[in-house]
């Protein structure tokens, strides 16, 4: 069977290429092994995530490689937190104003309120 000019199966060629890798000299295979071990010793380690702990009052700085979706979710959480805390502060201020108004009406303000 002769080799067809246009229809040679690449797999027949790669089969011989695979055989050729077994003919690599021991010196070269040893050098390749050394290169591999050197690369493994420098493998990039996993990154960590940022975490907050309110009880211990410490910040555990961990960073992780999050996807864009996770960053969006984290951003939404931060936005909700910011908006919520702002609303809470607004409520607190209104309550404080209301308390002051009540105190004025009941003439129950401390003397410091009249001192400039």
């Amino acid at each position: 069977m002769t080799t067809d000019l246009k229809q040679i199966d690449p797999a027949r060629i790669t089969r011989f290429l695979n055989l050729s890798t077994r003919q690599i000299s021991p010196n070269v295979t040893s050098a390749l092994q050394q290169a591999r071990l050197k690369a493994l010793s420098r493998q990039k380690t996993r990154s960590h995530i940022l975490a907050l702990s309110s009880e211990q009052g410490t910040i555990h700085s961990l960073f992780s490689s999050l996807s864009a979706q996770h960053w969006v979710a984290a951003g939404l959480l931060v936005a909700i937190f910011v908006i919520g805390s702002g609303y809470w502060q607004h409520i607190q201020q209104e309550e404080q104003i209301a308390d002051t108004d009540v105190a004025i009406l009941t003439d129950d303000l401390p003397i410091d309120a009249f001192v400039d």
Binding site: I8, S20, T21, I24, L32, R36, A39, H70
Partner: protein, 212 residues
């Protein structure tokens, strides 16, 4: 699973890859991958640069770059990443060689040559290994001769055709992955592969090789 605490609330989440699996390549996985690819990578580089030492350096550089920059990627992404790095490292080698030979040519023209110190800049990049040496005596002569002919034919291919052929058929990358590794379009990959296969078929037939 990762977590963090906000006040009295603990928020937990998982880091997933595109397949919905939480899996980054471990040292064992990276070792397994590099073990499986290192010999082919060496052959890739050798076909391109025709120098054993340079080919070894190229493979070592590629392994280091993969481990240092992408060692935390999922194991499934390592093959394509490595092939891209390998091809880029081979190109970097040729760029350095071009610059080096330009400087050597310049200096050789400026320096006065003495009888016992003749210097040929081409010797710097000349392959010191005789790769047309006969195969080892304990191996099948016909098989070794076919291998030598195939390797010679691959070396004679234009670089892009050889890259496309090896990535597509030897590394098993699909057309899309091959295009990404080579930095070209899928159409170019198909063209390069088609021409490579045709050229190899012509060469093998001319040398009377009948692949079993």
């Amino acid at each position: 699973m990762a977590w963090f605490r906000a006040g009295q609330t603990i928020i937990c989440y998982h880091v997933y890859n595109n397949q919905g699996e939480f899996k980054l390549s471990s040292p064992v996985e990276l070792d397994q991958f590099l073990s499986s690819v290192e010999r082919r990578a060496y052959k890739h580089a050798l076909f391109a640069v025709h120098d054993e030492h340079a080919a070894l350096d190229i493979v070592q550089d590629a392994m280091l770059k993969l481990a240092e920059k992408y060692g935390d990627k999922p194991a499934g992404e390592l093959p394509l990443l490595f092939q891209r790095i390998l091809q880029n490292t081979i190109r970097d080698y040729f760029r350095r060689q071009k610059v080096r030979s330009s400087w050597l040519t310049l200096f050789s023209g400026l320096q006065s040559r003495q009888e016992d110190e003749e210097f040929d800049p081409l010797e710097v990049i000349e392959d010191e290994e005789n790769r047309t040496a006969p195969p080892a005596p304990d191996q099948s002569l016909q098989q070794s001769q076919i291998i030598a002919i195939i390797e010679q034919a691959l070396e004679q291919l234009p670089a892009r055709q050889r890259e496309a052929f090896l990535l597509r058929y030897w590394e098993g990358l699909d057309t899309t992955e091959t295009a990404e590794a080579m930095g070209c379009t899928e159409g170019s990959v198909k063209t390069h592969c088609s021409r490579a296969v045709h050229a190899l078929a012509v060469t093998l037939r001319a040398k009377g090789v009948d692949l079993p």
